[in-house]
Subunit: 68 residues, 2 copies
């Protein structure tokens, strides 16, 4: 499922940066519990929240969706 | 704003295909009024609806977000 693939991709990019879920969620000003559920693919996340995450990872949306 | 840029991109790709809003919305099984508001950038659209649109346009999400 797309939300799961996206969550895995986000998790992988976050861990590459050496950040915990907690620190990253704090950094992008997103509720930690909500963010954790996004990484688990449990949320039908909106474009504005996807953008927030992409900005936090310092990548474009195109890059975020690469290969998904 | 991202929702506006995405809406313009979707509209441009749809018109390239020579489809009306009405026909395209029907094709992807999305409410026509909702779809129209997405093209106008008025919706914080979810990933599942973005996927529906990308599938209807027969392009990847990576392609849809190219340059946005």
């Amino acid at each position: 499922m797309l939300t799961e693939k996206l969550g895995q991709r986000i998790k992988s990019l976050r861990t590459e940066k050496g950040l915990s879920q907690e620190k990253f969620a704090l950094f992008i000003d997103m509720d930690r519990t909500y963010y954790a559920s996004v990484e688990r693919g449990k949320r039908n996340i909106s474009i504005n929240n996807i953008e927030k995450i992409a900005n936090g990872l310092n990548i474009s949306l195109e890059e975020l969706f690469k290969g998904l």
